[in-house]
């Protein structure tokens, strides 16, 4: 069945049709939430709540943008609300991470190699979370989820020019945040 038909039936109250839409988009919506929260439980809850919001907002959905774009917009806005509420709790202490990475140096080489990738990932994602919320969102959409510039423009309802400049600024900020990490590596970027 076509997506438009599924949307129409869902709007009329068909749970089967809505179940199909959920099946199609659940991974993408979950990943969006996960890329912003880095917490599986929270991401799962946010994804569920995004679908509930979408279900009740369906009568107001006008098919000008695709269903997917509209759904991602709901999911992103919902995750943003969550980030705003939790912003104080997830204030990142880069120093803490640095400390933990220094402690890691005492471990054996084998342990270090095993944890290196996880550590790098953690550091990068923690650094993202210390960025302003709009930059977190745009990095999540572009560099984690791989949405195109045009898709991002539609999801966030901003001009392509703004998408371009915001992505550039967010990436530069992230690199700046990671500067201590890179300098510690002494140019060995494979980590």
């Amino acid at each position: 069945m076509e997506e438009k038909e599924l949307v129409r039936l869902s709007r009329e109250g068909s749970e089967e049709a809505f179940a199909e839409l959920v099946k199609k988009y659940r991974i993408k919506v979950f990943n969006l939430a996960f890329s912003l929260t880095r917490d599986r439980d929270v991401a799962d809850d946010l994804a569920q709540e995004a679908f509930i919001k979408a279900y009740y907002a369906l009568p107001r959905f006008q098919s000008r943008s695709g269903f997917g774009t509209w759904l991602y917009r709901i999911a992103i806005n919902h995750a943003r609300d969550y980030l705003r509420k939790k912003s104080r709790m997830i204030q990142i202490s880069i120093e803490k991470i640095k400390e933990s990475s220094i402690l890691q140096e005492d471990k054996t080489m084998k342990e270090e190699k095993e944890s290196a990738e996880a550590q790098r990932k953690q550091f990068v994602h923690q650094s993202i979370r210390s960025l302003p919320e709009k930059h977190q969102v745009i990095l999540s959409l572009r560099d984690i989820q791989g949405f195109s510039y045009e898709e991002i423009s539609r999801i966030l309802n901003i001009s392509p020019g703004t998408v371009d400049s915001r992505i550039y600024r967010a990436r530069k900020m992230l690199r700046k945040k990671l500067a201590p990490f890179f300098s510690r590596q002494g140019g060995e970027h494979e980590l």
């Binding site: 659940r26 979950f30 890329s35 569920q48 509930i52 690199r175 494979e190």
Partner: protein, 169 residues
């Protein structure tokens, strides 16, 4: 050397948004500029780390859990509506009652006066209307006085005609 411009180009190259001639120019520059070479390498590490790989799956029974939440919502919805609108309706109702009472008190005093006068006597009503309740009685008495005077005159004339005086024995 314009490294700021090439940093933009490095990022555009990662997005596949660089023209062929620009790509060539960038390569040449990065090859000759150690600073931009490091920048390019750092961005490469960042992008590789960021790519959505090894993402966990949503928890099992995603739809089933969602379905039960939707059902729950449907049951709770009337209460949510009441909570949303009913709670607002209470103060509004009180305000309405207050204004209606005020309007009744302000704009219908004659009706109340009428209700009061129902229990009063005729004299009470006249006193309430600031009138003399003895007005009619006085008039009657005054009328009676004139008649008495007339009667006395008639009797006097009759007595005079009879040659007798009332006051004489």
């Amino acid at each position: 050397m314009n490294c700021k411009k090439f940093e933009k180009w490095i990022l555009r190259a990662f997005d596949g948004r660089l023209k062929d001639n620009e790509k060539k120019e960038l390569e040449e520059h990065v090859h000759s500029c150690p600073l931009c070479s490091v920048t390019q390498e750092e961005y490469r590490v960042i992008f590789n780390t960021l790519k959505a790989k090894d993402f966990p799956e949503p928890k099992p029974y995603f739809w089933e859990r969602l379905q039960s939440k939707l059902e729950e919502r449907k049951k709770v919805e009337p209460w949510i509506l009441w909570k949303k609108w009913g709670m607002r309706a209470i103060p509004v109702s009180f305000l309405l009652i207050f204004f209606m009472s005020a309007a009744i008190l302000l704009f219908s005093p004659p009706q109340e006066e009428a209700e009061l006068t129902q229990d009063l006597s005729q004299s009470g009503i006249l006193l309430l209307q600031n009138q003399n309740p003895l007005h009619d009685t006085t008039a009657l008495l005054e009328t009676a006085g004139i008649e008495d005077k007339n009667m006395m005159l008639i009797f006097t004339v009759l007595e005079e005609n009879n040659g007798t005086r009332r006051d004489l024995k």
